[in-house]
């Protein structure tokens, strides 16, 4: 059971062993305005949920809320403790470090070793000793995604994971999600505009757009 009142703590105080995400009547806000409301869905083990909707509908906001980076306006969601991982638009790649050092850092933070198959799963074996600053945008993206294979979290919140990837890399990433992550009982919530060819439920976010936009009128008191 984990409820997220407004301004809840960043780290997820959820205690459940089953890797199932359950969202009930959730409302999320960005910049003080509620963007999505009345969201309810369940994601059982081994399944992916694709979030769709036009720009600005609140896909990133929803993912950040679920990842525990911001509090929900109302409603609540349940997620397994310390099993979530968030991947944003940004790759979180340090350009002064080598590809290997970048991955090793995240492995150390999560107390894992870098599994050898990660190099092939994300097609970065040839780049291992390259300084990350010299990588192309697509190669950086692959390195950023390879972090997911290193930290081994069951619940992935992916925000536009395929940006700047070519067709081959998109298939490679979809293969990883399907054959490794989901096959091992993980779940993934993915905001994307491309077809990942996954057996996934699609959630259209537009019908959940909040009508009452102004929730935080604190600033107006001073105007």
């Amino acid at each position: 059971m984990c409820c997220y009142p407004k301004g809840a703590a960043l780290r997820q105080p959820c205690y459940r062993s089953s890797p199932v995400l359950s969202v009930q009547n959730l409302a999320v806000a960005r910049g003080g305005a509620t963007v999505l409301a009345g969201l309810s869905f369940d994601v059982p083990a081994g399944e992916a949920l694709i979030l769709r909707g036009p720009n600005g509908v609140g896909k990133t906001t929803l993912l950040r809320t679920l990842a525990g980076l911001q509090g929900a306006v109302s409603g609540h969601f349940e997620c397994p403790a310390d099993e979530g991982a968030y991947a944003s638009h940004a790759d979180a790649v340090k350009s002064a470090l080598t590809v290997e050092e970048n991955l090793q850092f995240w492995a150390d933070i999560y107390g894992n070793a870098v599994p050898d198959m990660v190099w092939d799963q994300f097609d970065i074996r040839d780049l291992q000793t390259r300084i990350a600053g010299t990588l192309s945008a697509g190669q950086k993206r692959r390195l950023g995604l390879a972090r997911l294979g290193v930290i081994k979290r069951k619940v992935l919140f992916l925000d536009e994971p395929t940006v700047s990837l070519d067709g081959f890399s998109v298939r490679l990433f979809a293969d990883y999600l399907r054959d490794q992550h989901l096959a091992q009982g993980g779940i993934a919530i993915i905001a994307t505009h491309v077809d990942l060819d996954l057996a996934a439920t699609t959630l259209e976010l537009e019908p959940f757009t909040a009508t009452d936009h102004q929730t935080d009128t604190g600033d107006e008191a001073f105007l």
Partner: protein, 218 residues
């Protein structure tokens, strides 16, 4: 957590990390002072402790905005916030990395630069000790300021304005301890005050830093 410290030290010493920047700035400020004040050794050696302390303070300020800004830009900060280490620990590690890459080198370089200011040789030890004792507070307070201004474009100037007044107590007691040491007076009180400020800052500010980061990441 060691991994984060290791990474930050590595980043600081790699190209573009700005490791030598603070040190060179410290050197330049100290070299400039005799040009401005004039070459009288009596005056220089009198003001040397104060100059060294002010210069060290400004040099420490120089690299503060890199503490969180770079991690925020490339998205690492959000990922660190969702990683299985508490943000308080991230704040402590970030401050420790800043201290190791600026505070310690400054303390070691200070007596060498003291020669340029005709610093009394008996003060060398006091300069090193007070800087080693005081610079952790500069790093911790600076990390708090960096967390406050994370996400603000060109937040560096704002950061200086926030942080510099908070540096005043450390500066007062640091410079006072050196001055008393040179004059042969009792240095226990300013040294204890200096250590107390550092201990208090190290104990309390990481919690404030983490809280501010949580708000800024929202």
């Amino acid at each position: 957590m060691i991994a984060l410290l290791h990474r930050d030290l590595l980043l600081a010493t790699r190209a573009g990390g700005g490791f030598g920047l603070g040190l060179v700035f410290f050197l330049i400020v100290v070299v400039l002072v005799p040009f401005g004040v004039g070459p009288e050794t009596a005056i220089l050696s009198r003001i040397a402790p104060g100059i060294l302390w002010v210069a060290a303070l400004l040099a420490a300020l120089l690299s503060l905005d890199r503490i969180f800004a770079l991690d925020h830009e490339d998205g690492s900060l959000s990922l660190l916030a969702t990683a299985p280490i508490p943000l308080e620990a991230v704040a402590v590690i970030k401050a420790a990395a800043h201290w190791l890459t600026t505070g310690v080198p400054l303390a070691i370089a200070a007596p060498v630069l003291g020669v340029l200011l005709h610093l009394d040789p008996s003060a060398f030890g006091f300069v090193v000790v007070t800087l080693l004792l005081g610079t952790p507070a500069l790093s911790v307070i600076g990390t708090f300021g960096a967390a406050l201004t994370v996400g603000i474009r060109r937040g560096g100037l704002l950061l200086s304005l926030i942080v510099l007044p908070l540096y005043v107590p450390t500066l007062i007691f640091g410079a006072e301890a050196v001055r008393r040491g040179v004059d042969g007076q009792d240095t226990a009180t300013p040294l204890l005050m200096l250590g107390g400020i550092t201990a208090g800052a190290v104990a309390l500010l990481p919690f404030a830093t983490a809280a501010v980061l949580r708000m800024n990441l929202r």
